[in-house]
Amino acid sequence: MTAHFAERSIAEAALAREFEATRGLSRSPRRAAAFSRFLEQGLPTRRNESWHYTDLRAAMRDAAPLAPAPDVETIEAARQILQARKPIGVGRLVLVNGAVVTELCQRFPESVVFNREAPPSADIDDAMVALNEAMSSDAGTLRVSDGAALSDPVEIIHLIVGERAQATYSRLAITVGVGAKADFIEDYVGATPGVQRNASTVLTLAEKAKVKHVVMLDDKADLHIESQVAELAARAELNAFALVAGGALTRRQLFVRLAGEQATIALGGLALVDGARRADTTLQVNHKAAGGTSREWYRAIVDDDGVGVFQGKVIVEKAAQKTDGAMKSQAILLSPQAQMNAKPELEIFADDVACGHGATIGSLDPEQLFYLQARGIPRAEAESILLEAFGGEAIDRIDDQRLIEPLRAALGAWLATGRGKATSMRTLK
């Protein structure tokens, strides 16, 4: 241990000091255990296989100070920001700087209950998951009762207030009862440079539960680390999608288990990466029972000096006969410096399965561009049309207009602002 201590990076040392100094954290045996799990591994480096393309230890030069529990002023500021937002579903759960603020939440239907119960400790071997458990001062569980059918999505807003360097940790469980049908949209907003965010959401789907889950990330955090854990019982269905349009360094990691027979997942994502940003999506899907279906379909548009990462590992365990799995990663690079790293993997231990994967990385199709231009459409507009189509196809898989609309709007905004500028500059050369 001493040797480890001597080798700690500045950020690791700062995290250790902060953890020790925050008595609410260090006095809890569970958090202390989680923190020592974190320290044993330290911040992930390239040597860690699942972090191969994102050297967090090198990228995270220091740890931002832990955001304090939101005070009256912060809550008031949050209220102002939220008032400007049109509610999009039934009920709204609001987290400010990582903590659930019940007075800002909006009424849930009777079949949805929120309480302060912490998610179960995840048996996931990942330093950042351990750090999340150690450092989250607050946690909660959103529970949808058996048989419920929600008419509209539940909105979960992860709001950051205060333009300063701060680290936020949030920990949320979503539990959907037997045969229940519920949709969720988690929106990460408000972060400015200097923010380091570590969020974790644990989804548990009981038998035959049917869930759509959307994540939108469109703010400017220096660091966004998000762990999404999902466990599906028999015949449960999860359709999850994430749009990553902001954040200097984002890492979304998904740990999905199809624990019951004939469970179905469709995981999708669209990463829009410009400037010097880096967006990493790494997922692991475990088929643990027979007859499961999994689809992973990730797309990325990378411009400027951006870097995209997709790592997907699908593990079909011995018991998971008749598994049907397909994984696809597709990226469009828009500049000579833009980078995409794609690594889809299959590990199959059952003998009767149909599984496949593929990855493509390319530029915009010159034939399609020519066709659009030959109809009088200006080059920049033609590019936008093709990119919107490419991204839109990924979004449409969530197959619900209420969820598609905000995602499409965010895609349109990204194409119109950040990227539009970069393109016209290149065309002028």
């Binding site: 010159p366 066709y371 231009q373 030959a374 009088g376």
Partner: protein, 249 residues
């Protein structure tokens, strides 16, 4: 209207068009016939401005303006329309959205305001009925999963909506059954106009039974080797291209 003078074009260092000269007058329907590999499609791409062709010499002018200096968009906005031999599939873009974008691009370039949705819908409905295009097809992604005939009819629909000055039709008859061929030809004939020129590229004479050309040019080995009236097309049908290929060699 269209003047091509001493045009030579290479692709990957290979000469495809060799000192080709050709003109199309306003109101004229000119046909270009030629065997496979004679450079017909290359000629259509050069007029429309497809990248990656190297013009080694010569000129292409539309109404006196040098087309070779313009990008494909600018050429289209000057009135050049290419009906593609293989229309491109664009997943994720509905045909209707594409049509609207294309129509409004032209209007904006002319300083006109965008069409209102009802007006746009009215024009599309009218034009598509004439071409027996199902409205349902227009809600599908552009050309994706369309049959050969559907794709070609959609090209003509675009042409009817855009109303170009010069229409270059690259093997529009290929892959069409006789009914579709007739519908397409009628679509073209409706657009014949004293102010509009047509350059119809085809391998076979049968399209010209439905669209009667004013002039027929024979192309072989990258150049025009013979020109004449409609009777030239019939002669080609009887005798084949061989004599012209030998002459060009």
């Amino acid at each position: 209207m269209l003047e091509i003078e001493h045009l030579s074009v290479a692709v990957h260092g290979k000469l495809i068009l060799d000192d080709l000269s050709l003109s199309v007058k306003a109101g004229e329907v000119a046909a270009i016939m030629g065997p496979n590999g004679s450079g017909k499609s290359t000629l259509s791409y050069i007029i429309a401005g497809k990248p990656d062709y190297e013009v080694t010499s010569g000129q292409v002018r539309l109404e006196g303006e040098d087309l070779l200096k313009l990008d494909p968009t600018e050429r289209a906005l000057r009135g050049v329309f290419l009906a593609f031999q293989y229309p491109i599939e664009i997943p994720g873009v509905t045909t209707m959205t594409f049509l609207k974008t294309a129509l409004n691009a032209g209007r904006r370039a002319r300083g006109e305001s965008d069409l209102t949705t009802p007006e746009f819908m009215r024009r599309v409905r009218e034009a598509s009925q004439l071409l027996k295009i199902d409205q349902e097809m227009l809600r599908r992604p552009l050309n994706v999963g369309f049959s050969g005939g559907e794709k070609k009819r959609l090209e003509i629909l675009q042409m009817a909506l855009i109303q170009p000055r010069l229409a270059v039709m690259d093997e529009t008859d290929s892959g069409l059954d006789i009914d579709a061929l007739r519908i397409v030809a009628e679509g073209v004939n409706r657009l014949r106009d004293p102010a509009r020129g047509f350059l119809i590229i085809t391998h076979y004479q049968r399209l010209l039974e439905h669209i009667r050309p004013d002039v027929v040019h024979v192309m072989a080995r990258g150049r025009i080797v013979a020109s004449g009236g409609p009777e030239l097309a019939l002669e080609l049908e009887r005798k084949g291209y061989r004599q012209f290929e030998e002459e060009a060699a």
